[in-house]
Amino acid sequence: MTDKQEIIQEESNVKPLLEVRCITKKFPGVQALDDVSLQFYSGEVHAVVGENGAGKSTLMKILAGAYTPDSGDILLDGVKVSFSHPSEAQHKGISIIYQEFNLLPERTVAYNIFLGREPTKAGVIDIRKMNRDAKEVLKEIGIDKIISPTAVVSSLSVAEQQLVEIAKAISFKSQVLIMDEPTAALTYTEVNLLDNLIKRLKTRGMAIIFISHRLIEVFAIAEKITVLKDGKLVGTVMTKDVNPEQLVQMMVGRELDHYFPPLGQPEDFGEVVLSVRGASNQLIHDISFDLRKGEVLGVAGLQGSGRTELAQALFGVEPFKTGTLTINGKTSKFRQPYFAIKNRIGFVTEDRKSEGIFSRQPIRDNMLLTIRSIRNMFGLIHKDGTLRDRKIVPTLGNQLDIRTSSYDRDVQFLSGGNQQKVVLAKWLASNAKIFIFDEPTRGIDVESKASIHDMIRGLAKQGTAILMISSELPEVIGMSDRILVMADRTLMGELPAKASEEEIMLMATGHKKIGNSAETSAVGKE
């Protein structure tokens, strides 16, 4: 690998715009970055990839001034710089778009874009100039028609908010733009918009650093790819020189022989356990489908097509207002998740950290909560759970390989990956017969993905019915025994296993509707 890196350096005679030399950063118990050196050139899109915990985000935060490195130098235009605060990095021309949501919902677009550097006239904010400048910035990325500078952010859609965030980063007139998974919440058209935008910024001579788990995107946008693993630099390659398989190999250090476990066989599928007919609520409408024991039913659709809303409706978070929901032959109405869990439905949410973890509670209590919440409220428990549940915690802990000295430790002291496992354990403990997975592998590294996929298929094999929502088409195709496609907040139709990406996309963009779901489920049985 190192040979290749040297070659690249020799090839480019121009001086790098931004360079890091021998950066090291240690967190308690973790060597986050170990002697990493990299160069970023102007007019170039440089992707940084790696598994979770590889050190990508730490590196970006160091570049953006949010962390200070333990040792090593940052050189901007050949000059050594150090940032004690993100604003210093911004003023020097490095701006960053974070993975997490980073806007003030109650403020206007203009205030958000210029937060921390509002234009002033004699100490007074020049609101007119600020709105004008904001309009400029929005125009620059071609969304001035959609978003007004004086709109309050909370009134915008999630994707629009993401665009505002990009506008904010652009507005710094930076030389270097760091994007940490900027497309995670964007629809396909918006991703295209972003691609065009990146190209335009590139021609302006900006250096763009791009972090993503979506390799397709990386290959579409980046010219150069750097791979990090366990805080160490694996290497930097030109995109044109590698294919995805090679890249994955670099990332995980070995070749992955299979991505997905084998699909279910017809004899695995049992009776219909969950059936929806003509159900609607304020967020989605006309939903009808069946879910059978032992199958993995994939749900595909664009961002905002109502996928998550479907899961929430089934689970009683935003229950259906009309139509029928039948569980195991019984018509049911879930006013809140409590009733869904009582009917042995489990829902592993997309945002596992903010919707799943009780960080200040012991691991044990985290894992047992689904059991406890449906039991008698004032029923006594033993310290290790009720007597009959005593074995659950260690059993699941071993099964999922949760690494901890004691199950009485607070979850906040676990690593991110282990926290995710605790959430899964919580749902496995609930002993659900119907599982809903919303983006089960989002933000998870390649290796862990495979084990999650194995687990899902394993559950199905044991006779659990699974509804799996995913925005990654390969995952939907690789895992699903049948595929539901959503668009415009309703079900567009159903496709059989191994449907092609094109078929799914066509339906997801609203072009084709294949009959109603009752008929298509027959198709699925074949």
Binding site: K342, Q361, S373, F378, L380
Partner: protein, 335 residues
Amino acid sequence: MTTTTASSAKEINQILGKIWNGVRRIPPVFPIFLLIFIILGFLNPKGYQTMNGIMTFFRPAAPLAVLAIGEMLVLAMGGFDLSIGAIVTMVVLASSKLLANDPEKALPAILIMIGIGILIGLINGLVVSFLKVPSFITTLGMMLLVRGATLYYIGGAPQGYLTDNWRQFGRNYIQDVPFFVKIPYALIVLLVLGLIFYILFHRTNYGKQVLAIGDNMRAAQLSGVRVKLIRVVTHILCSVLAVLGGILVGGYGGVNVTIGEGMEMQAIAACVIGGVLLGGGKGNVINVAFGAFTLQAIVNLLNQLGLPKPYTDVIQGSIIIFVVAYSALSSQRKR
């Protein structure tokens, strides 16, 4: 031979390590309380080193502990209850009018008060759950409402007396108990309530769900916790404890208009010293009770030292800031 000694040395080391770990985990409230109490004992051996003296100490400390346990439930759930002081006022003043100096009416009066307490908690809980008004504001409104309604009902000033049988819980001792010499009823009430709420909070599904809501409400809801129900129940329990605490307070202090004023803040301070996290997710019944004892011990200590009473406020204020800053900074370090 050598291996056994080595292994036993290792074992001892392990045991010592465990002990040290255990010591490190002791909440700061216990050493603080112990320290104050030991100093008190030196200053006044008769008052704080005899059973008689200790029991005397617990009589005024118990009512605050009862209030603090109720407040802890709400704080652990991530809420606030500012209405408990007003409930104490209500219990004492309204009872004084209801009793009309007739000891026979003591039981009905107490039952009516508990009933009103349940109603207040129910309204608090419903407003928080369904109107989505933050509990701080809900209970602030409730505090004004309860105090105003009480004073309106009694006409601005107490108009009757609390009968002796109503007051015995907060006031009297069980005499001639072996070893303990005497035990205040208030302490027995506290022990019974403390046990009930210890079990309820630490050893039932309910308690774990309260903590889950305080820690992460959205996740709790998605994990099947009936958030609204639990919140209503918790506010009711808090109000009922406030009523029971009020009976002890009234028993000890008798009737006056200012009774109960500021007790919500005292209770919150006791909780904070007892390690409860504002914002929710942590709480321990025993620690909170000792938090309340600590506040009382500070008062007694300053009195023994002959310092003017106002310094009590200064010391209490400094201690709550110190305790919270200590835990905030040390938890930051752990991360």
